[in-house]
Symmetry: C2
Subunit: 160 residues, 2 copies
DNA sequence: AATGAAAGTGTTTATCC
DNA sequence: GGATAAACACTTTCATT
């Protein structure tokens, strides 16, 4: 009975303490072996491998990837730029943003500004040339990141 | 001679075609076995394991982690909020941002606004309550993400 | 949905080049 | 800095519950 109720409410595989533990462990170290993960939740390796497969299918685990400090990659400066394309220039501006490797993230948003882009820069000297690429096609407003009180993180898991 | 010159210019381990291949492969799938990575660059597994260790030490590989679509986690909405704390409220505002799990990224920036925060929201109904937490302490300006032309990515590797 | 056992791979250390 | 070999550990499949 309680089992049936639980099943109905269990919309995603993360609505389960074990799966939340596995995901939290993989956020910290995506290369942990299935054997290690299994030991940490006191289960067999095949059972954990099966859970991982289901978490991947459900999208709760999207991809396994690496993170690195941009400073170590030679990009000590981050700029956040609000971009308001001039009439008729929206598609061209978007294309330039997508094709510029220094643009490490770009969102299209509601409101007066249309795009918010994050640039990784090797030095402050790169900022002007970078913005010149869209200066004729958009109004821009730039902020330089001085500190990052919250580094990229995932929010609480569903059911946590 | 050429070897010596190359050594001098070789400031980081990524200034090397093999290492760039390894990093690119791990960005796509951080769980690739050392054996698979070794085959992809036509080297032995111990040699590749040694390179990974050095890339980790140099910070070019920071952490192995997972990425997931926030929709699959139950957060279909992203808001980007510019935050200008009222006089004397800066530290309290920063503390609230850090302690709010829905704030998945927050940068302190130059210019008129002080913080730029990214919120993951379960529904549009969550937006007002979320901003109310800092409304008495800061002026805010909110944009809702409609699309993401550039999803989080790393810029070009040094030497690439 | 989980376990245990077995076969196939992968990892790691030591040694040598 | 890289290769090989051997010991050890992990992964994956299958039969069972």
């Amino acid at each position: 009975m309680a089992q049936a109720v639980r099943k109905i409410r269990n919309e995603t595989p993360a609505d389960d303490e074990v799966n939340r533990t596995l995901i939290a462990a993989l956020i910290k170290d995506a290369r942990l072996s299935v054997a290690d993960l299994a030991r940490s939740v006191d289960m067999s390796a095949p059972a954990v491998a099966d859970r991982l497969r289901k978490l991947e299918e459900a999208g709760l685990i999207g991809t396994y990837t690496i993170d690195a400090d941009l400073k170590a990659w030679g990009y000590p400066l981050i700029a956040i730029v609000r971009i308001k394309p001039l009439p008729g220039q929206l598609h061209m501006v978007e294309r330039i943003l997508v094709e510029t490797p220094e643009v490490i993230e770009c969102d299209k948003v509601t409101g007066d500004d249309c795009f918010i882009a994050r640039y990784a820069l090797r030095s402050i000297d790169e900022l002007d040339p970078m913005l010149d690429r869209i200066a004729q096609r958009a109004q821009t407003s730039t902020a330089i990141v001085k500190a990052s009180p919250v580094r990229r993180r995932m929010p609480s898991l569903p059911g946590a």
